[in-house]
Symmetry: C2
Subunit: 430 residues, 2 copies
């Protein structure tokens, strides 16, 4: 790629005019493409279409003869907890299975901690003045939204190749008792694809925290969502927390949303015995029980834990080519452009694209104008503010492969144009 | 019936010994009966067994072509809101359809008001010092549990034949700005079967409240759950609140739990436009959307609002005989016993039995000893404390009719025995 800073003024003008012409041509195609959210495609949903006629009219008894159609069963069906407990790194007794949306479970545990405190809190979090969460960045916008909504101060910490900057995390957690929690997507992190290495997980489990009721919000959303043949396993946070004398530190979350159906899945919580007891006590005033028929439906569909990796392989076959297409396009179009880089995730739903500082919002605006909708710039950071205006989240799973290819071309072009604009201090081609 | 106070000491001893003998004989039968909770019977659940294979493998598109299997649709499927909006007394735009458990919706609206305030609150409820709810008694234990759990003071008000004591409600609401809410089960109230008359509903809509963000928690759980051919309609609280200039006063709740399946139903919220906007804004940090496939499943099963009363007639055919059996037994065994009376509900799931003051806990204990489990005495009152120890909730829907008959016999016997013990100042037959 041409390095703009090394070109003569004439060359720059020509280059910028060519880019502008390419952009105008792309725009003229009148495309409508959407790379905003990590949604499975229709073909992925078809993999679980059998769910839509399960469990069947005569099939409603759990293995303990509970009539799943009726009230009750606060912790969720034992057999569905057994089905997913391996994925959660816990025994079924440590798992709570709920309705759809693990986000709702994360939200609710924070709400309960705010209003009532955790099982290790002297008083409710809301009675302890301003509290804070550590937020590895870039991260997941909906995690940050919960904190913002409830006035929980967010402290960004850098996410590196092997996990959060642990020196910084340990320093902050040890000194500041107002730090009550930390968001972690430990495997195939949203949006970078980062996998926490064993040392990071161990340090998170072992570190001193000034707050006795500090919690890791361990959103293992992509536990089985591999993009390569290497089914990466991370260290077991619950085991490590217990080993280091902090058994209640981790709340582990996951869901079946991107395994079966996002609109009709089930959410999962796993934690220590005391945390589970605490959550169930908090759930009693809220509900008489979750949708047990949907639990049974998932048991009938998946049958055994061994079915999960087989189903995930089929997802991989559908989405890995989309990631490869985006990466190939970026390799071709953006290699060696100064300030531009991107992640090569081995799993999960996102690619994180770094553009020159001050260019992310401009890239998103250019793409929108050309019919490619991207997640708003800044969404990957607390308060929606990326201080460098440089991170863009790419979500390639939902559109068809041909559309992903077009969208990736468009994004790459917008990056080149925005970078050129920045280098020349104004609009390219102007 | 014999009036114990008019008998000679010898007669009393003989009477008590006879009762004790009857009780011992009942106990010796070793029955295991449960009248605790308002659960549909298996035969009622069978009415909706078609749901268990719906919507079918190829049926997942909503009428607006939304793929219900995927994320999104925060307010719930339009067609399911249309299906139930008549029951809610609202237009579909005023309805939010959620996952199972209307209790969860009630809990969550209170949590949101505590942490963020309603759309009419200057500050969150939790920042306004101690707050209070008006609680018609006897009432629903799970309503009271939410208040107790979050430290909301409960102020009991008497529930009369036509609704709460409105003079008292108006007096309290007008003078005390800490009163933020009121629990109402306006039709076939739990546990008395009370139906609020039009004047009561109108006064609730029109009354002055010292708190500008006062809310009626209008739990219309039994909107279509008639036990007679008279499908009683109550006044429309949303319309009346709007007419009297208090459009945001009512949060209306209902669910499909006792229409289709309690373990796999959907919950409903209806309110003013501003309240709906508020709730949706509160839901955004919590979830990307409810289980839309279960919404579609209900649409495919019920097809149209006209199907709801037809299905409810089938429920009535199954449960009305159980209510009749309990009432006939009480008529036969307990008529003219001083201090003993019971309600004759025209709908809903409960009969409320009044026993002589100080006898309710004893009746429940005697019944338990004889194998008949009743809802704990006191559960119908705030903090689980019935000041008169006189109210017992009878839930006859779940057991088979023959079991209901046995249980009613047992309860009547325990009432007679407890009343006799009380009249003689000690244990009967002792």
């Amino acid at each position: 790629m041409t390095n703009l800073t090394q070109l003569s003024p004439d060359h720059i003008t020509t280059n910028n005019q060519q880019l502008q012409a390419r952009y105008d041509a792309f725009k003229a195609r009148g495309l409508k493409l959407d790379l905003t959210r990590g949604k499975p495609s229709a073909a992925q949903l078809d993999l679980s279409s059998a769910l839509l006629s399960l469990p069947g009219e005569r099939d409603y008894l759990a293995e303990d003869t509970t009539d799943c159609r009726n009230y009750g069963g606060l912790q969720g069906l034992l057999e569905v907890r057994r089905l997913f407990s391996g994925m959660m790194g816990a025994v079924p007794e440590q798992v709570v299975a709920s309705n759809n949306s693990s986000l709702a479970l994360m939200h609710d545990t924070i709400v309960y901690a705010l209003l009532k405190g955790t099982c290790d809190s002297a008083t409710p979090w809301s009675a302890q003045g301003e509290i804070a969460f550590l937020c590895p960045v870039p991260g997941y916008d909906r995690h940050f939204k919960i904190c913002q909504d409830y006035g929980i101060r967010m402290i960004p910490v850098a996410l590196r190749e092997d996990g959060p900057d642990m020196d910084e995390v340990e320093r902050l957690a040890a000194q500041d008792a107002s730090i009550k929690g930390m968001w972690c997507v430990p495997k195939y992190s949203n949006p970078t694809g980062t996998v926490y290495d064993d040392a990071t997980v161990e340090r998170l489990a072992a570190m001193k925290t000034a707050a006795p009721d500090f919690r890791l919000f361990w959103d293992n959303a992509y536990a089985v969502h591999h993009l390569t043949d290497d089914a990466i396993e991370i260290a077991n946070i619950l085991d490590l927390c217990a080993r280091y004398g902090n058994p209640n530190r981790a709340f582990v979350f996951a869901s079946s949303s991107k395994i079966t159906l996002p609109g009709a899945g089930l959410a999962l919580f796993a934690a220590s015995k005391d945390n589970v007891k605490w959550l169930l006590a908090r759930l009693i005033p809220r509900t008489i029980g979750p949708d047990k028929i949907n639990h049974l439906r998932h048991v009938r569909f998946l049958k055994s834990p061994a079915a999960i990796p087989l189903l995930m392989n089929k997802h991989k076959a559908l989405i890995a080519p989309k990631f490869e297409k985006v990466l190939a396009t970026f390799d071709q179009q953006l290699a060696n452009v100064p300030g531009v880089s991107w992640t090569r995730p081995r799993g999960g739903y996102f690619i994180s694209l770094e553009v020159p500082h001050g260019c992310a919002a401009r890239v998103v605006a250019l793409a929108k104008e050309a019919g490619v909708v991207l997640t708003p710039a800044g969404a990957t950071h607390p308060y929606g503010k990326d201080p460098n205006d440089s991170t863009i989240r790419i979500a390639p799973t939902f559109p068809e492969l041909a559309e992903v290819a077009q969208a990736a071309e468009g994004v790459a072009l917008c990056v080149l144009l925005a970078a050129a604009e920045k280098a020349t201090g104004g609009k390219a081609g102007a």
